[in-house]
């Protein structure tokens, strides 16, 4: 029998919480209750929408008046941001994020940078997850020689400090296309995820439902992908999100050092690199891209944490003492009334 907490709560709670719900709905329900994660999800969605639609993507135009390369010859306000707050209501003006030394609109540039950073992050996330899951699953499931080989490979990649290898890669690929950069990053960052997936498979393969499936006649592939994978989806999703958050910062750092996205391509880190010398004179050039990096990283981290809590069956919300006392009084009152 598990420990006191789990047993006592299971006895009292068990059916109450989960009646008639599939796992997806339960997880969603728990996620929604995690305030920080929900707020982050909303903020992130809004941000992404703005980022994508404001200056448009590819051939699709956006609604913002300036494009990232337009040069506005009239320097307004000494290039300072024209964003003002009359009380709470903001008025945006022509250049809410200001202008840089040659007159380009910082808002547009930041949006473009955000788009590129997002692209890199998403590509990297997808590839790293796919590779990591497959390698981890096979290593954990088959164990033995295959596991050894795969784990040595993982160790080799881990042995190289991330920033070092990505810097080298960045120098080679970064100047070409951001998409390529994202893909290559993905091919380098899967070991962490692989390790975790492997651990999941190592423990799950011992569970009886795997034996039951075998006796029913299931083959290896079926067991790996149809049986065990759905049970590890929690770990995968959570860590994929955290990986993406790390990737955002990593890409920014690399671009800042000059090894990632380089001019004329624009990314958030590249912008900071480009503008770092003007920090004392035009600090807004530095603030806005950094701000967006933080927004992305923070919201994704918090969402990841919310997902982690939502997937973990042990995480029961222990209520606040105040809440409990209030309810106790309410209950006592109703009893007296009866």
């Amino acid at each position: 029998m598990a420990n006191m907490n789990a047993e006592a709560q299971a006895a009292a709670v068990g059916e109450v919480e989960t009646k008639g719900l599939s796992l997806g709905k339960i997880v969603w329900g728990r996620f929604v209750r995690h305030k920080a994660a929900m707020i982050s999800a909303i903020v992130l969605t809004i941000t992404i929408l703005v980022v994508l639609t404001s200056i448009g993507v590819g051939p699709i135009p956006g609604w913002w008046m300036w494009s990232p390369t337009d040069i506005d010859p009239t320097i307004q306000n000494n290039g300072r941001p024209t964003l003002q707050f009359n009380g709470i209501v903001p008025s945006f003006g022509e250049h809410p994020f200001g202008q840089d030394q040659i007159g380009r609109d910082v808002f547009a540039r930041t949006m473009r940078g955000a788009q590129v950073s997002l692209l890199v992050m998403v590509l990297m996330g997808i590839i790293a997850t796919a590779v990591g899951v497959v390698i981890g699953a096979f290593a954990g499931f088959y164990r033995g020689k295959l596991d050894n080989v795969l784990m040595r490979l993982t160790e080799v990649i881990i042995a190289i400090p991330t920033i070092v290898v990505t810097a080298v890669i960045g120098k080679v690929f970064g100047s070409s296309s951001p998409a390529l950069f994202g893909i290559v990053l993905g091919l380098l960052l899967w070991p962490g995820l692989a390790r975790l997936v492997r651990a999941e498979y190592l423990s799950l393969r011992e569970r009886e439902f795997v034996d039951a499936a075998r006796v029913a006649g299931a083959g290896d592939r079926s067991i790996i992908f149809r049986h065990i994978l759905p049970n590890s989806i929690g770990v995968v999703i959570v860590n994929a999100t955290l990986l993406m958050a790390t990737a955002t910062i990593l890409e920014a750092a690399l671009s800042f050092l000059g090894f990632g996205i380089q001019a004329p391509n624009v990314s958030l880190g590249q912008l900071i690199n480009e503008y770092q010398t003007s920090f004392s004179t035009r600090p807004w050039l530095f603030w806005w891209p950094g701000f967006f990096i933080i927004v992305f990283a923070l919201t994704i981290n918090l969402i990841g944490d919310g997902l982690r809590d939502a997937f973990d069956p042990r995480q029961r919300r222990i209520p606040k003492t105040k809440e409990m006392k209030k309810q106790a009084i309410a209950k006592a009152e109703t009893e007296v009334a009866e």
Partner: protein, 596 residues
């Protein structure tokens, strides 16, 4: 040596002044007194201040609630009972009955969202509502607790000896050397061999039984007046369980404490208790002396509970040795079967089954009985192809399993199936149960229509509503989940069914129901069955023949009647003697016969 006043005496004095007593028992402040049982080291413990027959625990109107999802859910309602020094009170109930929660709440060990109200007086001192800081001086010297899982209940990085010594040094003024001596005494008291050496052992270096003994020693360290034993033997093998029960009964007479035994096992209850309290859904439904409850149960729940408990020897009269024709086809045949358990990480491969002979005919139920490590589960797994045959012969449904090729095994798998022990983990938590039941058929190539129809049929047979097919395992109770497992096993009309401890993880009444369904189905479908279990009473109920395993070999096999009534091998005899029978009078007779 001059008596030394210990912290315990101070606390007792404080308690005496604070206590508001109903029954008028006041704690006496005493100087140290040598306990003749444990040697000349002076220790103050509450048990020395208590005479046999004194009321040690007085529970009145105890309520326990848990705050879940915004509301208080009751776990125990209006619990009343008393425990006297030197007596064993058993609190019996199934999961969810509130037996553990009510006891834990008395000593303040509820989780943060639990609360207790009402009264529980330990030697006149009110415990409910006492702040944690005061409770720490009560736990240990006044109350000891023995938990169920000794492996996880002890700190793995501290030695066994240290964990006992720390209790002693916390509650008394003993010096380290004195505490060590006393700890070794205690280890000796609980019959741990080589106590000096074991003092420096870590918990994982001890066997299950020894760990539990160490826990008992730890709980008794400060001579408490009350002992809570929460399922102390459930995690142990039958023979080990018998030893531990003997120990506790022995201690009962020597240490003069009241014991609250919390358990669901009626056999254990019959063996140990003076008084019994039956709980269901948080309430006490019946209480009385041991013989009252067992012989004249009043409440219908108690009656149902007792009826559901398998009673060794009770079904022998109904056994028909010719139920299965002698010339029925053989579905499983093992000759000199040897199976090796593969290397798992650090633990090397070892020989789990060392050569057994076993035959199962179509339509008969043969049980394989043994304790943990006997190899019985290994045989079951080899029969379904989960483990390879190392040496000897094993033929299942006429096909030789040794060195069988993957393709042939896949074909063969349509002819047999297995029901696992833990219904919680033998169903994929992410699959709706309908899909789990249908899996064997889907892998055998049945089309969707046929599958759906058959799933419905099977669910009817195991008496589950068809509407459950889209539910997930966590939404079903243990018994329902196990029925799903049975349905899945029957999907392809197997000729041989392996049942690996299918009811060990279930409550007694649920177990009875599942076994009933299982027996019916076996009669109907006529498959041969290898029933693996450690529970002789359950095995007796449904099997035609029994084989007893120990250390990888079959020590004895024969018809059910033969084995139960007339065991030849000494191990079998020990095994049967160790099974607690849910009848106190009979249990006493057996004990007397065993000790003679």
């Amino acid at each position: 040596m001059s008596p030394r006043k210990s912290k315990q005496a101070d606390a007792a004095a404080e308690a005496a002044h604070e206590a508001t007593t109903a029954s008028g028992t006041e704690a006496e402040v005493m100087g140290a007194e040598a306990n003749p049982e444990t040697g000349s080291i002076p220790v103050i413990g509450a048990s020395h201040e208590v005479k046999p027959g004194d009321v040690v625990l007085d529970v009145e109107g105890l309520n326990v609630d848990f705050f879940v999802d915004g509301a208080w859910v009751p776990a125990a309602i209006d619990v009343n009972y008393q425990v006297k020094a030197g007596e064993v009170v058993a609190i019996v109930g199934e999961s969810g009955s509130g037996k553990t929660q009510s006891s834990m709440s008395i000593i303040g060990l509820l989780p943060r969202n639990g609360r207790a109200s009402g009264s529980a007086k330990l030697r006149g001192r009110e415990l409910v509502g006492l702040p944690q800081r005061k409770l720490t001086s009560v736990r240990g010297p006044e109350v000891g607790v023995i938990f169920q899982e000794p492996m996880t209940a002890m700190n793995p990085v501290l030695t066994v000896g240290f964990q006992i010594v720390e209790v002693l040094r916390e509650h008394t003024n003993m010096r380290p050397e004195e505490a060590k001596e006393r700890a070794i005494e205690l280890l000796r008291l609980v019959d741990i061999p080589e106590p000096e050496r074991r003092f420096n052992s870590y918990p994982h270096q001890l066997s299950g039984g020894q760990r539990q003994r160490a826990m008992i020693a730890q709980a008794l360290a400060c001579d408490p007046a009350l002992l809570f034993a929460d399922e102390p033997t459930t995690a142990l093998d039958v023979t080990v369980q018998a030893e531990i029960l003997n120990l506790i009964r022995d201690l009962k007479t020597r240490i003069n404490a009241g014991i609250v035994l919390i358990t669901h096992d009626m056999g254990v209850v019959a063996d140990m208790s003076d008084r019994i309290i039956v709980m269901k859904d948080g309430r006490i439904v019946e209480e009385g002396t041991s013989s009252d409850i067992f012989n004249k149960p009043q409440h219908e729940y108690t009656q149902a509970l007792l009826a559901a408990v398998p009673h060794l020897g009770s079904t022998l009269a109904t056994k028909d040795p010719d139920r299965v024709p002698k010339d029925a086809p053989v579905v499983l045949e093992a000759k000199g079967l040897v199976i090796d358990y593969p290397k798992q990480g650090r633990t090397p491969a070892f020989r789990a089954v060392k050569g057994i002979d076993l035959t199962i005919h179509e339509g008969e139920i043969v049980s394989l009985v043994g304790e943990s490590g006997s190899g019985k589960t290994t045989v079951g797994r080899a029969a379904v192809g989960l483990l390879p045959v190392a040496e000897g012969e094993l033929s299942v449904v006429g096909v030789n399993m040794k060195g069988i090729r993957k393709h042939d095994l896949a074909e063969l798998r349509k002819k047999f199936s297995i029901v696992f022990q833990d219904p919680g983990s033998s169903l994929n938590p992410r699959w709706p149960i309908g899909q789990s039941i249908a899996e064997p058929m889907q892998l055998a190539g049945w089309d969707r229509e046929r599958r759906t129809a058959r799933v419905g049929e099977l669910m009817d047979q195991v008496e589950l509503p068809r509407s459950f097919r889209n539910r997930y395992p966590h939404e079903l109770s243990g018994g329902q989940r196990q029925r799903v497992g049975i349905a899945r096993a029957l999907a392809l009309e197997p000729t041989l069914l392996i049942a690996d401890e299918p009811t060990s993880a279930l409550d007694v009444s649920v177990q009875a129901r599942v076994l009933e369904i299982f027996t019916e189905l076996q009669r109907e479908h006529g498959f041969g069955c290898l029933f693996v279990s450690h529970d002789l009473a359950v095995v007796e109920q449904l099997s035609d023949r029994i084989a007893v395993m120990k250390d990888g070999v079959i020590v004895e096999q024969g018809t059910t009647a033969q084995i139960i009534q007339n065991p030849q091998d000494p191990y079998t005899q020990r095994l049967i003697a160790a099974v607690p029978v849910p009848d106190p009078a009979e249990q006493e007779r057996r004990r007397a016969a065993a000790n003679a």
